[in-house]
Assembly symmetry: C2
Homo-oligomer: 147 residues x 2
């Protein structure tokens, strides 16, 4: 099972081709990890989410870790781990960035946004209002195994 480290260019290409990640945050040193959909552009990861525990925790402690993998089996896989910083995109200071995130994510996840909108309409709740945020990537490492 030869293991090889991925260089920064490989890590960036891997994130650019992926859409599903696991995002970990932490509060009072209790970690919390959830699956998310994202779009990557150097050096940011844009995320479409809903309000909830993770956004509350990241608001309190913006240090996060993002993990993206492709796992064929125990001997053939690649995994990239990025340390980063949570950035909310409040109006009006970040109107441009928010619009950019919205466009970037809408083109990929239109179906999901429609489903969320439909559900919100039915239930009349704000908790599933789509929320856009981004993560500034501070460092990245990647590892690849192939048999």
């Amino acid at each position: 099972m030869p293991l090889s480290e991925m260089n920064q260019k490989d890590c960036r290409a891997f994130l650019a081709g992926a859409s599903l990640a696991r995002l970990a945050c932490s509060f009072n040193d209790q970690p919390y990890v959830v699956p998310i959909y994202f779009a990557y552009e150097p050096d940011f990861v844009y995320v479409l989410s809903t309000f909830g525990q993770k956004t509350e925790w990241m608001h309190a402690n913006p240090k996060v870790c993002l993990q993206v993998d492709e796992i064929a089996d125990q001997a053939n896989w690649a995994s990239v781990i990025a340390m980063g910083t949570y950035e909310e995109l409040p109006e009006p200071e970040f109107s441009e960035e928010r619009e950019h995130a919205r466009k970037l994510l809408s083109s990929r996840y239109r179906w999901w946004l429609n489903a969320m909108a439909e559900r919100q309409l039915k239930q009349g709740t704000d908790t599933i209002n789509p929320l856009f945020f981004r993560i500034k990537i501070d460092s990245m490492t990647g590892l690849r195994a192939s048999s």
Copy 2:
């Protein structure tokens, strides 16, 4: 996209049928998340790993979060999140538990153990010595979406 909460029985059945998880730990409130293979028995998750950053961090702060999912697409998925406590299985106090973990994991991951042993033989390094630990599950929640 109807969402439903999984009850404790559903969560346990889901973990029992899975083998791949993402494990998050945290040190100085910097989270870190990695993919791991595991075997579940109420109320513990047994993990086969190697030494490295995650084991150092969990040694320093045993609070962890384990996330297991099956994601078909954005509208059809299930995800279970377990909060737990890292437990090393040092000799001689935990000889029995360690042997139990070894048996449980060896039967599932024999191929991987052999590959690790072979690699260790070639490289003569202890860093890829297989390490067994377990996570005591303190609480679990699960969510399922189906279109």
